[in-house]
């Protein structure tokens, strides 16, 4: 088969793009550690969150050196706890579930964003380097008060952070 030189060029360029896209995603996943949010957590009864040791009392817990876990309940039309307070320079895993309908938990202006489905627990780990404040919004239409459903994530400077109930 006789293929024109130019045609070989742009076929090669298209292949480079495809291989490049795949390599980029692989780098993001393996090199940077970007992860997907999945449904690996066990399901629970959304009408019985009071019986669940994680969600009966929505809170932030100190679980390791610089590791924190935040147990968050989304319900019409609030996030609990609010605000969520963590220190800078920490790794925070959010466990988010819904007490009623489908919500979302979106940390505004960042890549941290998940659906919140009643009966399921969305887990999301983020590394937080700098102090500051982030808004949290619900991005799934969840009822008449949807537009008012917001929360706050406060990242305190490391040396000023003091978790309630901890020495």
């Amino acid at each position: 088969m006789n293929i024109h030189t130019y045609e070989k060029l742009w076929l090669a360029a298209a292949m480079v793009l495809i291989v490049g896209f795949i390599a980029t995603i692989t780098y993001g996943s393996v090199g940077v550690g970007v992860a997907m949010i999945d449904d690996s957590e066990a399901t629970l009864d959304p009408n019985d969150l009071g019986e669940d040791e994680r969600f009966a009392e929505p809170r932030v817990e100190h679980v390791g050196d610089n590791e924190y876990e935040a147990y968050v309940v989304a319900r019409q039309f609030i996030f609990q706890p609010n605000p969520i307070e963590v220190p800078a320079g920490s790794t925070v895993t959010f466990y988010v579930t819904s007490a009623d309908v489908i919500h979302s938990f979106s940390i505004v202006g960042t890549n941290a964003n998940t659906m919140v489905i009643p009966g399921e627990v969305a887990t999301m780990t983020v590394e937080i380097d700098e102090p500051g404040e982030y808004g949290i919004l619900c991005n799934e239409y969840c009822g008449a008060g949807h537009h008012d459903m917001e929360g706050l994530l406060i990242v305190h400077p490391e040396d000023e952070f003091d978790l309630e109930g901890e020495e």
């Binding site: 130019y6 742009w10 940077v32 992860a35 949010i37 940390i107 960042t110 590394e127 380097d129």
Partner: protein
Amino acid sequence: MTELEREIGHDEYDPIGTLALIAVYSAILVVMWLFMYFVEFLGNDLTVVGVIG
């Protein structure tokens, strides 16, 4: 019908304009690809991290 004026061989056909267009499109694609992934996405902390599996 017009008469055949000149016959050219396979490699004498030279669509340099098409090549230039495709080169420009490709350059735009490459710039958008690098900008969107490495600047807009990876630069937009907080990012969800974890291990695969």
